[in-house]
Every structure is written in C-alpha cells, then in structure tokens.
C-alpha cells in the first residue's frame, strides 16, 4: 500500500499535526511500509467473526449517583498555557476583529 504525499497531508490535517515537508516525506515511506506489514491480515477470512473491541465481558458499569467535590478551579487551571480570570484563554475561534458580544 503506497500512500501519496497528498494522502499524508490529508491525514496530518485530520490529526491536527503540522509537519515539515521533510517529515511528511519521511512519514510517507514509513507509513506505507507499516501498512504493507499490516496488510497480511487480509490473508485471514474474517467474514463470520465478530469484532472484539475490549477484552473483558463487562457492560454498563453503574455507580451510585452521589454528589462529590470536583477539582477546584485553581487546580484545574494550574497547567493552562493561558488563562483569563477563572477561564482557559484560547485563540479567537472566528476570524474577525470585532469584539465578541456576550
């Protein structure tokens, strides 16, 4: 399975990874080799096999719905790259110079 550089660019965009041209080219060769390796799974006929997403046969694990303290705001914010008051500060979501009205 050989991936084109455009395929790689598309996957990087989906993954929200900004990579250099050199990294994209290196990734193209390495990902193609890995996909070639995993293609051996096609030797197996799995038409009648149910997928297994999880090793344990557990479902619907419930616990009592009791109020409990959560992380205080200062602790939740302590690792944030940028904050404003008790909020996480992020770059503008909309491309505008107008102040966002609340």
């Amino acid at each position: 399975m050989s991936l084109s550089l455009d395929d790689i660019r598309k996957v990087a965009r989906l993954a929200r990874l900004e990579l250099s041209e050199a990294d994209l080219v290196r990734m193209q060769g390495q990902l193609s080799a890995i996909l070639d390796y995993v293609a051996q799974l096609n030797e197996l006929d799995t038409a009648d096999v149910e997928p297994l997403a999880h090793p344990l046969p557990i479902q619907n694990v419930f616990r009592p719905d009791e109020p409990a303290p959560s992380l205080p705001p200062a602790a939740a914010l302590q690792n944030a790259p940028a904050t404003v008051g008790d909020y996480f500060a992020v770059p503008a979501v909309f491309d505008t110079d107008e102040p966002v009205s609340h």
């Binding site: 990874l17 900004e18 990902l31 390796y37 995993v38 799974l41 999880h54 944030a80 790259p81 992020v90």
Partner: protein, 486 residues
C-alpha cells in the same frame, strides 16, 4: 551485600527487626542514585529532599508505634506516565515537559497508603510508544548489564532502575509488552496484570483497551508484594474489576501440583535467537524435573497479532492523544495562528517522531473509507487471537515461551527502522489483545552476559497461578540473585 542490592522483602525485614531505618534505606539508594544514575539515566526526575521527608515520616510513625503499611520505608520508582500530585509528570514528552498533576494516580495513592517511599519518576519511550526507551524526549536510558545497549521499553527507566539497584521496586505500564520486554532485557521480574486487575485512574492513556499498570522487582516474591499493594477495585476506572485481590505472597511458595505448561510452537519459529531459545528450552526442562508436564499447544493466529496490535493501539492512541491541544494543559506554540493552526503547531512541536507516526497511523485506519478494511478487520483478528488462548487454556494451566526474540540490542541499532523495532514485541502483544496476565522472569544469560527472559501467560485473573509457577522455577535457579556491575 549492600542495602541497595537487597529485595523489598529483605528491606522490610531489616526495618521490622530494627537493623535499619527507612532513612538508612533512603540514604543508601540516594547514594546509589548519585553514583550510577549518570551512567544509567533511568530517571526523568527525583527530588532527594522529598525522598528523605517521606522516609523520616515512616520512621516517625514506627517510633510512635503506629500501624505501618505493607511497603513501609521501601523505595518505589514510578514510571513518568503515572500522575503524582504536585510532582511533574512528563510522559517523557516535550508536550508535557512542565505538567504538574493536581491529583495522584490510583496506584500512586495506594503506594502512599502502604507507606512506600516514592522514589523518583522513571524515563520511558514518549507516551509509552517504543521498545527501547530511545523515544524519550529527554534522555536515553542504558541497560545496566551493558551500557552500550538499550534497557528495552517503553518502561525502560523502571526496569533499569531495579536492575541497576537504584530502587528495589518500580511501577511500569504495559500496552504491548512495555513491562515484560524491558524486564527480560534487564534481567528482572515484571508482570502485566490481567486487564481490569489494576486501576488505570491517573495513568495517562495510550491505548485504553490494552493499558495496564504493573510491577518490576528483583524476584517473584517482591513482584507479588507490589501487585498486592496496588491491585484492586477503584470506582474511578469503570474497567477495573471488583474482584478480591488474593494474598499472593502467602501462596507463592506452594508449587502447582501437576502443572501443565502449554508450549506454543509458534513462539519458537523464525526470528528467535538461538541463545534465547536454548535458555528458554533449558528452563522448560527444569520445570519437567520439578514435576510439570509440557503440553504442545498451538496459537495459530499469533503470527497476525502484531499486525492487529499495530492497528488497534495506534487507533486508540490517535483518539486518546487528541486531548493534547495546547489549550487546557501542555505545550502551546509561541507562533501566532488561529485556533486550529495553534492546535496543529502545538502538536507538531510537542510530539516526537514515533508519537506522530502512531497518531498518523491511527488517524488513517480510523478515517472514512478505511475503517472497515483496517480497524474493524484488526478487531476481528483480535477475537481470533483471544479464541486461540481460550482453546489452549483448556489443555494447560500456563503458557510458556521466550519474552523477546533476542537479548538487549545496541542503542541506535533499530532507531531508524520503526518496523524492526515493532518486531521486538512479537511475543508480548497477543497477551494484551486478549487481556491476559503475563510475567517475565530471568532464565539465563547469553555468552555476552545479557539476560534472557522466560514469559509465562495465564488465564484471566490467574496471577496467583503465575506467581506460584514462576516461583517453582526461580526457587531452583539463582539468576534472580545476580546483580550487574555498573
């Protein structure tokens, strides 16, 4: 024998007898750390003053006659993927270089409750992705038996810390072999518990259906002791099973009568180093001398397990690692960009090459048009792999084979060939896909003096049988008593 070469059980006995204090023990390991850490580079961080404070608190408790936990005064090194409140936790990644968790992982809380002395955070492959610890963003850890070689990975720092006598016990994590493979390469005992045996709360996720926390130790007794301390139900991890934890240390010296050892022919095929095979075959002979019966079993889909793993694990990783967006915590780019651009630049700068590769593979196999061909196909093969084990365990109590195809390789040898690196997990990944417990213990050395590991796999929640079976062999050999000259 110096204090640092002793087992945790020895250190507990010495302290109980008044022959050493927790402070004596801590001082001995801190001296070893200053002496050997520059050669081994097993740690990302260690706060000497904090170690001394913890040890002094244990001694004060003992002096006051207060009840003490089961690991009182024993240093335990912790892989830097487990959150420690107020102590930097990096996953050996630039993206988390300054991350200070506001809470403890469940297992870390259990260590504190057991009065263990938390002894530093160990180096690892970034986000636990790798088999040599060379993927750390900060340092390359060395194998204590030959510092030109890798300790294995991803929990290479924890394995090297125990093997190099920088800590008697350590915690690691195992997603596809990341405890057992470095344990084998460093000549120590390592266990991946059954999926659900140990809480994953506060473990920074790689692949959530495969990840488990587990112990490293010099011998089987210490390994059982540390599992006993950290295993058990935690409502904060819904996949952590509410089953009682047996007192493993009380039963492990009872040999398993009529032990049936399944020997899968697929684990002795092409790619297995001759010296590794000879050591493992000799171990099987020793088991026969001790009354065990070898049973020829087949795991016909095991040759596909690695391929299935390298779809499932990256798929889960690409989803788990989406949380690193430079918004709530972690590295944010200094470059000006819009929201999406800031996320993409932060991730491009913060993640190393192997992590980026796995995010890319995972994103690709989950993307529209490819999901059925790759991800769903791999999940179907995962069921076939598990079915092989279910059938084999109808005829045997444990399955035995080599932990790794070769002994420790040289640093740099596989660094530029991701696929060659992935192949060092060929015997360990199927256990994670099936959710089984797996243990690696020392079973000899190559002519070059490198340790070889014997892998024992068990039925789900049969850790007790694994420990007893492992101890049968260990009691007849002295590999576990050897210490490297670093």
């Amino acid at each position: 024998m110096s204090l640092t070469e002793k087992t945790a059980a020895d250190l507990l006995a010495l302290q109980a007898a008044g022959a050493a204090t927790a402070a004596d023990v801590a001082d001995a390991f801190l001296a070893a750390y200053r002496d050997r850490e520059p050669k081994l580079r097993a740690f990302v961080s260690l706060d000497e003053a904090d170690v001394r404070r913890q040890a002094a608190a244990v001694d004060a408790k003992r002096a006051a006659g207060q009840p003490l936990g089961m690991l009182a005064g024993v240093p335990v090194a912790v892989k830097d993927v487990l959150c420690t409140e107020g102590v930097r936790t990096t996953c050996s990644s630039r993206i988390l270089a300054d991350f200070v968790p506001p809470y403890d992982a469940h297992v870390v809380g259990r260590l504190r409750a057991a009065d263990a002395v938390l002894f530093g955070k160990t180096n690892m492959d970034e986000f636990a992705m790798g088999s040599s610890t060379e993927n750390s963003a900060f340092r390359v850890t060395r194998n204590p038996w030959d510092t030109a070689r890798v300790p294995g990975g991803s929990s290479g720092g924890s394995a090297a810390a125990v093997a190099g006598c920088l800590a008697p016990l350590a915690l690691g994590t195992d997603t596809g072999g990341s405890i057992r493979q470095p344990a084998a390469l460093c000549g120590v005992v390592g266990l991946k518990p059954t999926y659900g045996r140990v809480s994953r709360y506060g473990l920074i996720a790689f692949a959530s259906s495969l990840d488990q926390v587990g112990p490293f130790a010099h011998d089987v007794t210490d390994c059982a002791l540390l599992l006993e301390a950290v295993a058990g139900h935690d409502p904060r991890d819904s996949t952590c099973v509410n089953e009682p934890v047996p007192a493993y240390t009380r039963t492990l010296n009872d040999p398993v009568k009529g032990l049936r050892i399944g020997v899968p022919r697929e684990f002795f095929g092409e790619g297995l180093d001759a010296e590794v095979e000879a050591a493992v075959r000799a171990a099987l002979k020793e088991y026969e001398r001790r009354g065990a019966v070898l049973v020829d079993v087949s795991l016909p889909h095991s040759k596909y397990a690695l391929a299935a793993y390298y779809i499932v694990a990256p798929a889960e990783a690409s989803s788990n690692l989406a949380r690193f967006d430079g918004m709530h915590y972690g590295h944010r780019t200094k470059e000006k960009a819009d929201l999406v651009g800031t996320v993409a630049k932060s991730r491009g700068e913060g993640f190393g090459p192997e992590v980026q590769r796995r995010i890319m593979i995972g994103t690709y196999v989950l993307s529209s048009g490819y999901k059925d061909a790759y991800y769903v196909k791999a999940l179907k093969v995962r069921r076939l792999v598990k079915g092989d084990f279910d059938a084999a365990f109808e005829r045997c109590d444990v399955i035995a084979g080599p932990t790794t195809p070769t002994a420790a390789f040289r640093a740099g040898e596989k660094a530029d060939d991701p696929l060659a690196m992935y192949l060092s997990d060929v015997y360990t990944v199927s256990c994670n896909l099936a959710g089984l417990p797996g243990l690696s213990l020392p079973c000899g050395f190559t002519a070059a003096g490198l340790p070889v590991g014997l892998q024992l796999l068990g039925r789900p929640f049969a850790e007790e049988t694994l420990f007893r079976a492992a101890r049968m062999y260990e009691a007849a050999t002295d590999w576990h008593a050897r210490r490297p000259a670093v």
